[in-house]
């Protein structure tokens, strides 16, 4: 038997890779084997273009219990507990079918977390869509938000935070990155490993259908006009069944029944079983006749590559099969023995008595292709980094424009559709700098945030990516939290382009500098490449989810001014970077330009420590990060929440635009009522404190150049996204 070049390429393999497989195998693969190799060697499963870069990430620290490589990472949070978390992309499926693509993205990340034995207590998401004028954007936004809500709300995890941004670079390729965090006792964390020769391999959860076949290879391809025809490669989510699966798994995990357990995600049964055998240094025999099927006529190829949702594979301890089946039956779920662990490091599948696959585990896992793609700084970057000569003639009008722009308007329309309070442990939900949730049964509170200002990354990837970490760490500090660990989703275009490969490489270096400086080891994550359509790549988007811990008893400050009569100050150095890479500049000249603001690591760390100290001593009641949109937007956000005015003067140079809208790092707004300046300055030490003014009145008035009615700002700010998303001005036909 031999395969034509077209057939080989249709499995996502290059002809060279196919030759490598034949050589490694010593023979031509079977049809099912070819599909399995294609899936396991896909970019999505093998990380073949990113592994060389990922190796440089900062992933260690005394707080890390489980680092990258498992279903999710785990970080110690005290009292013998771990926070188990991860973020993962579901970009391609969401573009093809936004509701189900986003829903199953949430389902997948939740499974990654509870597979480890951790009950999910919080979810977040980061979304990127094309410009508002693009005909697909409204449809994608509505579908994705409804899908995330539809899954998370039903499953019963609070969606406590996230971020959303629009840019023409995402017109043909949206991003949906889903984050989930759960809690497990450190001595009860379950890993995805298959060990113990003869131990039964048990399939649990939903039945297998033909949905999602080739999902992993599809996720490793660029989009073209035929992409819409890929709809059958998108899976359909069933959050109700996942809720049952969660309860059944956690109930079983209370007992001593399980050797290892793994979610069936991308590349389904194949990937789950191969990864378990690879980690255990074992082999497996799977009898595909035993796999519960949703429809008749399915082939070994279908069973192995289906990405049907809400399924798990577990290796049970000897003789525990009846108990496993009993617990799952209680929750009305299937649990079927489909194979056993072997000692020959070969992954075998049988079907109707014949052996249809016999592949060395190593060939599928560690020996997958690995590429060091050529990287080159694009020549076009230098021209983009020049800041065009523009003036800010009406700062008040510009502020209103930013606050009603796609990237600056209020996100309430999104998070109202997410249940952010189920679990009754949400101390600070969406809309602040970071969310804060209680760890059930303890006095521990965790803070979390997802961040990425891709415009900054585009304009100088290493600096921009470092800025992503600085921003995430600053957001944690703004709720009084100290960083614990992070997860990342590296969303980039085709790594076969030298400029994209360079963006990826530089971004990893920037993240690494930041992760070391702010003690945020990356403990989990994924890489999503080939985010491109019609030859143009997305913005380089290294999304980061960061998690921190609050000191006991700390009162979480608000991110807005609660009332009049408060003294408002900004901590940190006056802005000096100008408007380079700012939202204001993009908004004003219609393109991304300039260089991103640099990060001063020691000044940034000192600022975070000062903010945490002020919060711990309850000297400030409002804390809000200054970043996108600059200090004018940050102050406006503080004013709009409760419609409180402010008259003040901001620090910085004569350059009005840079002072008000520049995006320098290292700045945080605070406000207090009963403290005095001298006490605040004592706590802040070397961190500059500039008093801006006092809250009160109906207007936000800054530097004598901005004077706008807060209530008007608020209405416009709050209505913009709803107006766009619900298309309230459109005339229906």
């Amino acid at each position: 038997m031999s395969f034509s070049d077209d057939v080989i390429r249709a499995q996502g393999l290059t002809l060279d890779e196919y030759a490598q497989a034949v050589e490694g195998l010593g023979r031509v693969p079977t049809w099912a084997e070819l599909g399995v190799i294609g899936a396991m060697w896909s970019e999505h499963c093998s990380y073949k273009s990113s592994r060389v870069h990922l190796a440089r990430l900062h992933t260690t620290g005394p707080q890390v219990a489980v680092g990258p490589g498992e279903n999710a990472g785990a970080v110690r949070i005290g009292q013998g507990l771990c926070a188990v978390f991860k973020m993962e992309s579901h970009n391609h499926p969401s573009y093809i079918e936004p509701y189900q693509g986003a829903a199953t993205g949430v389902g997948g990340i939740l499974r990654d977390v509870f597979t480890m034995g951790a009950r999910p207590i919080a979810a977040m998401n980061a979304l990127r869509f094309g410009r508002w004028e693009h005909p697909k954007t409204r449809h994608l936004l509505n579908g994705v938000v409804a899908g995330i809500g539809g899954y998370g709300n039903c499953f019963g995890v609070p969606t406590v935070g996230g971020n959303l941004s629009f840019h023409t670079a995402y017109d043909g390729n949206c991003l949906v990155n889903a984050f989930a965090l759960g809690i497990a006792a450190e001595d009860r964390i379950f890993l995805g490993t298959a060990s113990g020769v003869g131990n039964p391999v048990v399939y649990v959860g939903a039945k297998t259908g033909r949905d999602g076949i080739h999902g992993a290879t599809m996720a490793s391809d660029v989009f073209d006009d035929a992409t819409a025809d890929n709809r059958p490669t998108v899976q359909v989510g069933d959050p109700f069944r996942e809720k049952l699966l969660l309860e059944a798994c956690l109930e079983l995990m209370q007992e001593d029944c399980i050797v290892g357990i793994q979610d069936m995600g991308a590349a389904g049964l194949t990937s789950a079983s191969v990864e378990m055998a690879s980690r255990g240094g074992t082999g497996l025999v799977l009898n595909l006749d035993c796999v519960p099927a949703r429809e008749s006529g399915m082939t070994p190829y279908d069973f192995l590559l289906s990405e049907s949702q809400e399924r798990m594979l577990l290796v049970a301890k000897p003789g525990m099969e009846p108990r496993v089946a009993e617990v799952f039956a209680k929750w009305d779920l299937d649990a079927v023995v489909i194979g056993h662990v072997t000692d020959d490091s070969v992954w075998r599948c049988t079907w109707h008595g014949d052996e249809v696959c016999a592949l060395p585990v190593g060939l599928l896992a560690d020996d997958a292709p690995k590429y060091h793609r050529p990287c080159e700084r694009p020549e076009s970057l230098a021209a983009m980094q020049v800041v065009p000569d523009v003036r800010c003639s009406d700062p008040g009008a510009d502020l209103l424009a930013l606050l009603t722009s796609p990237d600056g308007c209020h996100r309430g329309w999104v998070w109202r559709q997410y249940d952010h309070e189920v679990g009754a442990g949400t101390v600070a939900g969406p809309g602040g700098d970071a969310a804060v949730v209680e760890v059930p049964g303890t006095d521990i509170r965790l803070a979390m945030t997802v961040d990425c200002t891709a415009r900054h990354v585009l304009l100088e990837p290493k600096v921009g990516a470092l800025g992503v970490i600085a921003e995430a760490a600053r957001n944690l500090a703004c709720v009084g939290a100290t960083p614990l660990a992070a997860t990342d989703c590296l969303n980039f275009g085709s790594p076969e382009r030298t400029d994209v490969a360079w963006q990826l490489s530089e971004s990893v270096d920037g993240l690494t500098i930041g992760c070391k400086a702010f003690d945020l080891p990356i403990i989990s994550g994924n890489v999503s490449l080939y985010n491109a359509s019609a030859g143009s790549a997305i913005l380089p988007t290294p999304m980061v989810g960061a998690v921190g811990k609050l000191a006991p008893g700390v009162v979480v400050p608000r991110s807005a001014f609660p009332r009049a009569g408060m003294t408002v100050a900004v901590l940190g150095r006056p802005p000096s970077h100008g408007v380079g890479a700012s939202l204001w500049l993009t908004h004003t000249v219609g393109r991304d330009a300039g260089t991103p603001p640099p990060v001063d690591l020691s000044a940034e760390n000192a600022l975070h420590a000062a903010v945490r100290a002020l919060i711990a001593q309850e000297m400030v009641s409002t804390v809000h990060d200054v970043f996108e949109g600059g200090i004018a937007v940050a102050l406006a956000e503080c004013c709009m929440a409760e419609t409180v005015g402010l008259v003040g003067t901001t620090p910085g140079s004569e350059d009005v635009a840079g002072r008000l809208f520049g995006e320098d790092h290292g700045r945080v707004i605070v406000a207090w009522e009963h403290s005095d300046d001298a006490a605040i300055r004592r706590v802040c030490g070397d961190v500059p404190v500039h008093v801006i003014g006092t809250t009160g009145g109906d207007h936000l008035a800054l530097d004598g150049v901005v004077n706008v009615r807060v209530s008007a700002l608020r209405v416009a700010h709050r209505n913009a996204l709803k107006t766009f998303a619900e298309d309230v001005h459109a005339v229906s036909g």
Partner: protein
């Protein structure tokens, strides 16, 4: 100590929150009840918590009402036992015919998670007519309460339109989902069966920025004492 049963259906996701709210109330003890059991274990009150029983894939609550435990809950309610349904629990009570009306998709067809204010019209085991304006969380996609127009006035006259959404000062209706007469919850004629869309169990501790939910459990403890 009064014992309060909290039923877990497949897909319930507020059952643990509800048990905790009960347990943290002086004079109440939470008892977990399982949908497959028809035995209420001699509890003094029953609460049907929120969630998505059976995924709400049919009408909300339409499957759950057929479960063995609901037979027992119906008998318990008909005998005058206090029964509270929150969110999906409210939907189940309506489907079971223990409460009037039905719950359909929100007016704008979107799930809504927010804080609302409600006023209480009558004293029941879970409410007191003098409770004033309560601030409570909501989180639902199908919370638009409807009823036969011919019954509506009679229900109103009988005080069965127990909770209504109002503005902060309590003077006007402020309706998040399009329900008839701004109804947030209702009770049966006897007043022992109560259902509402808002989640009292999510507003029982200052850390959660709301404690008005405590009243429901405190009233229940007093009525069972």
């Amino acid at each position: 100590m009064a014992r309060v049963g909290v039923v877990t259906f497949p897909g319930s996701n507020c059952d643990a929150d509800m048990r905790r709210a009960v347990q943290e109330t002086d004079g109440l003890e939470a008892v977990a009840l399982w949908h497959k059991e028809a035995d209420l274990q001699g509890v003094d009150a029953v609460i049907l918590p929120g969630g998505f029983s059976y995924g709400d894939y049919l009408r909300c609550g339409a499957m759950a009402r057929l479960s063995p435990v609901m037979q027992a809950v119906t008998e318990f309610a008909n005998a005058g036992g206090p029964v509270l349904g929150v969110c999906n629990g409210f939907q189940i009570l309506c489907e079971a015919g223990l409460l009037p009306g039905a719950l359909v998709r929100n007016r704008d067809l979107r799930f809504v998670c927010d804080r609302v204010r409600v006023v209480v019209s009558r004293t029941t085991p879970f409410t007191n007519v003098s409770d004033g304006v309560l601030t409570l969380p909501i989180a639902h996609g199908e919370g638009c309460w409807v009823a036969d127009p011919s019954q509506l006035q009679a229900l109103d006259d009988a005080g069965q339109l127990l909770f209504r959404y109002v503005t902060e000062d309590g003077t006007r209706g402020d309706n998040p989902n399009g329900s008839l007469r701004d109804v947030a919850g209702v009770c049966n004629a006897q007043g022992n069966v109560v259902g509402l869309m808002p989640h009292p169990e999510r507003a029982c501790r200052p850390a959660l920025k709301g404690i008005d939910g405590q009243l429901f459990f405190a009233h229940l403890a007093r009525s069972l004492a």
